[in-house]
Amino acid sequence: MSIAAPALDRTVGTRKDRGGRLLPTIVLLVGALYCLVAVAWVLVASTKSPGELFSTFTFAPGTGLLENLGNLFAYGGGQFGKWALNSLLYAGVGAVASTVVSAMAGFALAKYDFPGRNLIFYTILGGVLIPGITLAIPQYLLLSNLGLAGSYWSVLLPSIISPFGIYLSRVYAAAAVPAETIEAARIDGATEARIFTRVAVPMMIPGMVTVFMLQFVGIWNNFLLPYIMLSDQNRYPLTVGLYTLLAKGSGEASLYSLAITGAMLSIIPLVALMLFLQRFWKLDLISGGLKG
């Protein structure tokens, strides 16, 4: 076994082979199971009717799934459905807008040289360090001066700016769009805008998919911003809606079941999205950009 040429066979040694295969696999599987156990619990718990929730072993399936689903969608005259649509709206539109803005900004920062470039870049990066709450309240006051507080815009607009997305776009643009291609296009007489849309963007797609996905997940999961901005329950995204279910739950036990069922349902779209996009996004550009 160990006589293979070094360049082809990565294994050296004898007994280490078997141990080398089993132990890592087991450790990884344990990790994987640990990550899944909470999700599994939610799946099972959402099958329990309110009565069963506190009285039976929580990993044993219950009988109330359909009842829970029915109650969930009927709650507040269909609010759960609205919450789901709201989340989709905020995350979908927000992520698309954010990707476009980030791509443009990243492209400019990577491929052009202009005064103030570094200053702008570092200011953008600094935005990552500011805690959400510090921004949320002044943003709220600002938006209400504009008459937008409590509207869909109040959640969409602040979500578009993504320092991390711009950073990623810049790194990716720098790596994936060669300068000579741009040059060639310029010589051919293309306008800068055309260069961007026809030349750069197609090359930046994998990076943009990554940015899109990160923003989508980030906005979908965001709690603080919509919580502060919105006061109309019909506009809440899933995160805030589920939280209010839980907070109200102290008065009605059945709401716990609804919250759990709602949580279960809210996980599904994101997981599906990620599984689907897995092959497209490239996170190596994050670490790759640091290699200098």
């Binding site: 009285s55 006051l141 019909n234 102290s250 036990a253």
Partner: protein, 412 residues
């Protein structure tokens, strides 16, 4: 923080289609009834979700000019709202008919410095809700004074080691305030322009000592109320009573519907035999906000939903105990709450209790600060096993400091 009506704003706006928030389904009923009978002034209702943050949200919304015209708020938050310039003075808009719809002491709940800031909606005279069936089973008599309550607690523990007479949550600000008031405490007093803060006074400390004793002897469960744990125990008949207020049956029914028929209501135990006075716990009123463009109509709306026949009907159907005289009279004629269908004299006893309620506590301008300081201090004390009375001292400290910093005059 619980009071049955965990402080939710109910906000409606006449004549415009702007969304407004309300706590609970009761408010929707009001709005619908009003809109049906007043086609000239239409009101819209939106649900903000209620909960403990709602008065905070109201303040923030008001600051941003986003507040609705009308809001339902807990009485104890009213002074902060006045000082925060959210609740507007409606004395001039309140007509004689409305004035007569509530007793003077009820008006005391929304009147400060001789100015009316809101219309009372429901009140929560304190009472004892207890598991009648289990009391009988374990041979416990209903206590009429707190000393008897302590004895009963011992008996319960002896009769069934898995059961407690009640749960004590150190963080229930409203409950503790009510008990202190029953013992004679005045947490805030104002004389002219000077405030006196009495959270740390003798009466309150004796209340703290009483509960401390029960806690130390393991006669009550120490935990927050209405958590899953609490609910499970309630359903299993391991928590036998809830000293609270008249709105409690609805809440218990919500978490333990199968207990219907097993519970009953009795007057709250007294400190001295023969006394009858109890305090209010919770309850809310309707304020008109400073950003309302039509305060006259807004006041009309508030007055109507809280004192008309239709309004009373809605209140009773959702388990509120009306603040209006009309509502209370109607209550006597209505069936007992779902939790205790067997207690046919429920409303008679209730109205007697209501008549004996001490006119309202004076709430100070920073109740929100007091509440959060109280919860923190008491929570810490319960966890660490330090005396609850010390937590009162700390709360007093924080409250006085805050008032002084803000610029109020506080007596030493």
């Amino acid at each position: 923080m619980l009071s049955g009506r965990s402080g939710g704003p109910g906000m409606d706006e006449p004549r415009t289609a702007e969304p407004s928030a309300a706590w609970g389904t009761a408010q929707k009923g009001f709005v619908d009834a009003w809109n049906a009978s007043h086609p000239n002034i239409q009101v819209t209702h939106t649900d903000a979700g209620g909960g403990t943050d709602s008065s905070a949200k109201l303040l923030t919304a008001a600051r941003a000019g986003e507040a609705p015209d009308v809001a339902l708020v807990e009485y104890q938050t009213l002074p902060s709202l006045i000082v925060g310039d959210v609740a507007t003075d409606i004395t001039q808009y309140v007509g004689d008919e409305t004035r007569g719809a509530f007793s003077d002491s009820t008006w005391g709940l929304t009147t400060f410095n001789d100015a009316i800031y809101g219309v009372p909606q429901d009140v929560g005279p304190m009472a004892l809700i207890y598991n009648q069936a289990r009391f009988a089973e374990l041979g416990i008599t209903v206590p009429t004074i707190w000393a008897e309550f302590a004895t009963a607690a011992e008996q319960v523990r002896k009769a069934d080691p898995s059961t407690y007479i009640a749960a004590f949550s150190p963080e229930e600000f409203g409950f503790f305030a009510g008990m202190s008031q029953q013992a004679g405490a005045k947490w805030w007093e104002v004389d002219g322009e000077t405030w006196t803060v009495g959270i740390d006074g003798e009466a309150s400390r004796s209340v703290a000592a009483y509960w401390q004793d029960l806690v130390d002897r393991d006669l009550v469960r120490v935990e927050p109320l209405l958590t899953p744990e609490y609910n499970t125990a309630l359903n299993a008949g391991q928590i036998l009573s809830w000293p609270s207020a008249l709105w409690a049956p609805g809440v218990i029914y919500g978490v333990a519907p199968e207990q219907a028929g097993k519970w009953a209501m009795a007057p709250l135990p007294q400190w001295t035999p023969g006394d009858k006075a109890v305090a209010y716990q919770g309850g809310s009123g309707v304020v008109v906000t400073t950003s309302a463009e039509h305060p006259q109509e807004a006041t009309e709306f508030a007055a109507w939903i809280n004192s008309s026949q239709e309004g009373a009907d809605v209140q009773l159907s959702t388990g509120q105990y009306p603040a209006s005289t009309l509502g209370q009279q109607a209550a006597v004629a209505s069936p007992p709450p779902v939790l205790m269908p067997q207690q046919t004299d429920f409303w008679k006893v209730a109205s007697q209790i209501a008549a004996d309620t001490i006119p309202s506590i004076t709430w100070g301008p920073n109740v929100n600060v007091a509440s959060s300081a109280f919860q923190d201090a008491m929570g810490k004390a319960a966890l660490a096993g330090t005396p609850l009375a010390d937590a009162l001292t700390e709360t007093q400290h924080v409250v006085v400091d805050d008032m002084t910093t803000t610029g109020f005059q506080v007596a030493d």
